[in-house]
Symmetry: C2
Subunit: 198 residues, 2 copies
Amino acid sequence: MSADRSLQILLDELGRLPGIGPKSAQRIAYHLLEADPEQARRLAAAIIQVKTEVHFCARCFNYATEQECSICSDTSRDRTRICVVSEPRDVSAIERTGSYRGLYHVLGGVISPMDKIGPEQLHVRELLARLGAEDIEELIIATNPNIEGETTASYLARAIKPLGVCVSRLASGLPVGGDLEYADELTLGRAIEARRSL
Amino acid sequence: MSADRSLQILLDELGRLPGIGPKSAQRIAYHLLEADPEQARRLAAAIIQVKTEVHFCARCFNYATEQECSICSDTSRDRTRICVVSEPRDVSAIERTGSYRGLYHVLGGVISPMDKIGPEQLHVRELLARLGAEDIEELIIATNPNIEGETTASYLARAIKPLGVCVSRLASGLPVGGDLEYADELTLGRAIEARRSL
């Protein structure tokens, strides 16, 4: 195989990654060509390792290498609260805040009739089963504040409230450090509706 | 190893790539986690392949998988012209223009006293040897139009002109599609100096 061909294959594969256009792919490919072979080997190994070792947690569908993920198997967490998110990446985002010490449940998507995704295509049945089996007091719905996320949140609230579990939703409002002048009307409207007494 | 740990290793390795910040690394890592295992395998394989198969051409120091690169071994190329570039990526850039059908010589850098890189650290000796051994009529110096590139170009011109080879330099001037108003003074100055009669 010629050098151009090897390089073209690498460029094609890099180009499939999100946010990597032809120019970035080229920059990365030449960087790898010039890099220490050990660095390139480590990157390739890290890609393979993450794909072979990481599976879904049997309880909450977060990423895990064991049967259960590191959060579900952490006995120091508050086991009376479940935060429902759409994707495993949302778990990382919430963990980074340090504001939440409960468990999670990853739906694996959101309700989206346009894409033919209903509750049956998500891990909703497993969530209801957990609510029956575990001693849960509060369910915090943390789907994205967009149409699909809101639809999913209202569906879950309707399905779960009758079970006697307290259901809450992340607050919508102005982002911290944001500017009233540049906030969109919907966000500002939400912030006004959800105003809190001081 | 936990899922967080596997993911962190991948994030660290992705973060070493040029132009990939923490946010991009995370986006790519989650993309790979969600992607078809075959896509991840192909990317890892392409990285390994490019590092094991691609070496430097024995003649021009471009990337090659054989003893000589695909350009040096292409008998249809004009073998009386050598275009001198700093890095192998510059060969690709010039090839993409389709305006040049000669050979190349990759210096492997530019003269930069600050970084302790002189002609001895570059493939200048090999270039002089080629001028003696091959039947070269013109040397086109295509180092970047910045201080180091210009220094390298003048050094090469001084060293090579006495050998009776015609030495030229890529034109500097306004980029095609550019705008006079936004051109920096140096570029505009060069464009005026190098004006051509119509």
